[in-house]
């Protein structure tokens, strides 16, 4: 059967692409370990990782700065890529992403309230605030969208998410306008950054991201069903309400962890799935793993650039991702006819 043969061939090419992405990510991890205000050659990175000599400067830099930063970058990137792909699939809207569906705004709201009302300024506590805010926001969005006769349709999810974002943004603005101290603290958090993250943060969000990733990858078939439209999916025997709830759960765990670890980074989750879709075609079986590998490549690559671009300072990763990723994304949109959702 020639059709099946061609299918297998493209499948093999897509698999090869995935392996290449994995290799690229590995290379970037190495680059991220060596690059910074004080470059450290690879063999010294290796010996610092292996030896237990806390007195050397390299040891401190590697263990306290570079390694946590790299791990958080990979984790947050993978989470953002997967969350974006899952949300776009579940709502069938190319604009759906954690920042439009209220997840980032919920996290930001909790952080802002934490800073202004309770004077919290430690990054480690921001993690839990952001996570709680993201989860609560998504819960409310989903609850509002599923009220009414026809349940949580994609259109109602998208509108409810954007409306909740508007409400929470209004509260955030009111607090930031009236409390300069909070504005001063939060303006650095809300850019999105990997700097200053300790290993504790990676250990706190790691398990959540693992669970979320498994859940997201497992929902590929459900998303493929949903992508045909609710009516067709239902007539094929899929329980669309349950599918959407599962996908939503995966997305909120992932996006919540990402915003907790690195702050609200808007661009990655929105655009990486479109790039993945342009390469793999419409099946979520491939879109999800591609997004999971491409997003940390973008995030970590941007972080490495941000470390060296403006010495002696750094540029936050949220800014560099937008400025390196957006031109690439726009060029891609112009060059190819992207598959519509």
């Amino acid at each position: 059967m020639p059709a099946a043969q061609a299918n297998r061939k493209t499948g093999r090419a897509t698999g090869l692409g995935l392996a290449l992405l994995g290799a690229a990510l590995f290379a970037l991890v190495l680059l991220s370990m060596t690059t910074g205000a004080r470059p450290i050659p690879l063999d010294m990175v290796w010996s610092a990782l292996m030896s237990a000599d806390p007195s050397s400067a390299e040891y401190r830099i590697i263990w306290d700065l570079r390694l946590p930063r790299t791990v958080v970058g990979v984790l947050a990137g993978a989470a953002l890529g997967l969350a974006g792909a899952v949300l776009q699939g579940a709502t069938r809207n190319p604009l759906a992403d954690p920042s439009i569906l209220g997840i980032n705004a919920g996290a930001a709201l909790f952080v802002v309230v934490g800073v202004s009302a309770f004077g919290i300024t430690q990054l480690n506590l921001y993690v839990w605030l952001a996570f709680a805010g993201a989860g609560l926001a998504m819960l409310v969005v989903y609850a509002v969208a599923s009220l009414g006769r026809e349940g949580a349709t994609p259109i109602k999810l998208a509108l409810a998410g954007a409306a909740m974002t508007a409400i929470m943004q209004a509260v955030i603005n009111a607090i930031l306008l009236t409390s300069p101290r909070t504005l001063d603290e939060v303006r650095f958090w809300q850019v999105g950054s990997l700097a200053g993250r300790s290993m504790d943060i990676a250990i706190q969000v790691g398990p959540f991201i693992l669970v979320g990733a498994v859940l997201a990858l497992a929902s590929a078939r459900l998303l493929d069903g949903l992508s045909m439209g609710d009516d067709i999916a239902r007539s094929l025997g899929q329980r669309i309400g349950l599918s959407r709830a599962l996908a939503g759960l995966a997305a909120v765990i992932l996006a919540g962890s990402a915003v907790a670890a690195a702050g609200p980074i808007a661009f990655v989750g929105l655009t990486v799935p479109h790039v993945a879709r342009a390469i793999t075609g419409p099946g979520y079986r491939w879109i999800l793993p591609y997004s999971m590998l491409m997003a940390p490549i973008l995030l970590l690559g941007a972080d490495v650039i941000g470390r060296v671009i403006a010495p002696p300072g750094e540029v936050q990763v949220g800014i560099v991702t937008a400025f390196t990723g957006a031109p690439f994304f726009i060029a891609l949109v112009r060059r190819r006819k992207l598959a519509a959702l």
Partner: protein, 349 residues
């Protein structure tokens, strides 16, 4: 014996027209009530008969200096600015949402408002400009961004999907630029820029209303002509092309009007959050499939703006919030309520 005859079609059409008329009338009535409240309420309440006298004083000659100042110089300009800017936001929102066939694709999400904001923040933080100069920068920023997005999306014509995707790419870059300026600037400048970004009617000048009114007078007749082309656009790019309908002139015309409306309104009051985004879906849900709700979206925009400004001024006894803080909340609560109560979501948008 056909199931659908001419008389039943006429009945359906009549019911539709009735519904659309009822919604419009209700919105106008609500606007009138809110306008009267806006004139009466304040630190110095003016009774209705005094307002009437004051409004007519240029003709009757019955003046009262203090009251006339408050009514004619403070409250009326503010009221007009709220109504006109709200209507402009509402119109530009539904134009883009209909044009791009996505309820999320309002100018404050696909980059146009970001362009205005980035230019304004740049002028405040880097150039140290304020007031009118900042407004002009915002205006130029919005136009430049829209033009760039259109140009980048052009490739043997423009498709809705490409405009949306390139718009979000541009929005990401522009908001990153704003964040960068925020982290590098002095806190005082950041605060000032933040206040502009939220948007408010506190600095209402009579001139702003005149510019906006002129703008609406020019665009409304244009819109009436262009809206007819929407039937073709709503079929989707592929279907329309297959049927031989040329979308480009209509699309370009509608985009130009939408961008101009958003740019003028933003220059006058700042990028007031989410008025453009909520007005369209609210109008659509109120209409319940009885029309596109373009005029109704303008009315909803004006209502959201006016009521938000009233709430912002009077909700907290000891402080005045900028209107932009409330619009997001008020408009969004209204939309959420409609999402919950309206049984059928109807069409895609």
């Amino acid at each position: 014996m056909s199931a659908i005859d001419a008389s039943s079609i006429a009945a359906i059409r009549r019911r539709r027209d009735n519904k659309s008329r009822r919604v419009t009338l209700a919105l106008v009535a609500a606007l009138l009530a809110a306008s009267i409240a806006a004139l009466i309420l304040g630190d110095f309440p003016v009774p209705p008969e005094e307002i009437l006298r004051s409004l007519l004083s240029p003709f009757t000659g019955l003046t009262n200096r203090g009251v006339d100042f408050i009514v004619l110089q403070v409250r009326v300009p503010r009221l007009f600015l709220a109504l006109l800017s709200g209507a402009a936001f509402g119109l530009s929102g539904i134009i883009f949402q209909t044009l791009l066939r996505n309820p999320l694709a309002s100018p404050d999400i696909i980059g146009i408002a970001h362009g205005a904001s980035a230019a304004a923040v740049f002028s405040i933080v880097v150039l140290g400009w304020t007031g009118l100069a900042t407004s002009l920068c915002a205006f130029a920023g919005a136009l430049l961004t829209a033009f760039t997005i259109y140009l980048l999306a052009w490739r043997n014509g423009v498709t809705a999907y490409r405009v949306v995707l390139i718009g979000i790419g541009a929005a990401a870059m522009l908001s990153a630029a704003i964040s960068y300026l925020f982290t590098r600037a002095r806190l005082v400048d950041v605060q000032q820029a933040m206040a502009w970004l939220v948007g408010s009617l506190n600095a209402a000048r009579p001139g702003d209303s005149i510019v906006l009114a002129a703008m609406l007078l020019v665009t409304l007749p244009l819109l009436l002509v262009l809206v007819r082309g929407l039937d073709g656009l709503e079929l989707g790019d592929d279907t329309a092309r297959a049927l031989g309908i040329s979308l480009e002139p209509t699309r370009l015309g509608l985009m130009l009007t939408g961008v101009a409306l958003a740019a003028f309104a933003t220059a006058a009051v700042g990028p007031v959050g989410f008025v453009a985004f909520v007005s369209g879906p609210i109008a659509r849900r109120l209409m319940g499939g009885a029309g596109r709700g373009i005029a109704q979206s303008a009315l909803v925009g004006a209502l959201v703006m006016l009521v938000s400004d009233l709430l912002a001024q009077h909700a907290l006894p000891d402080m005045q919030l900028p209107a932009g803080v409330v619009t997001g909340g008020f408009g969004a609560v209204f939309l959420l309520w409609l999402l919950v109560v309206s049984g059928r979501s109807g069409r895609v948008n």
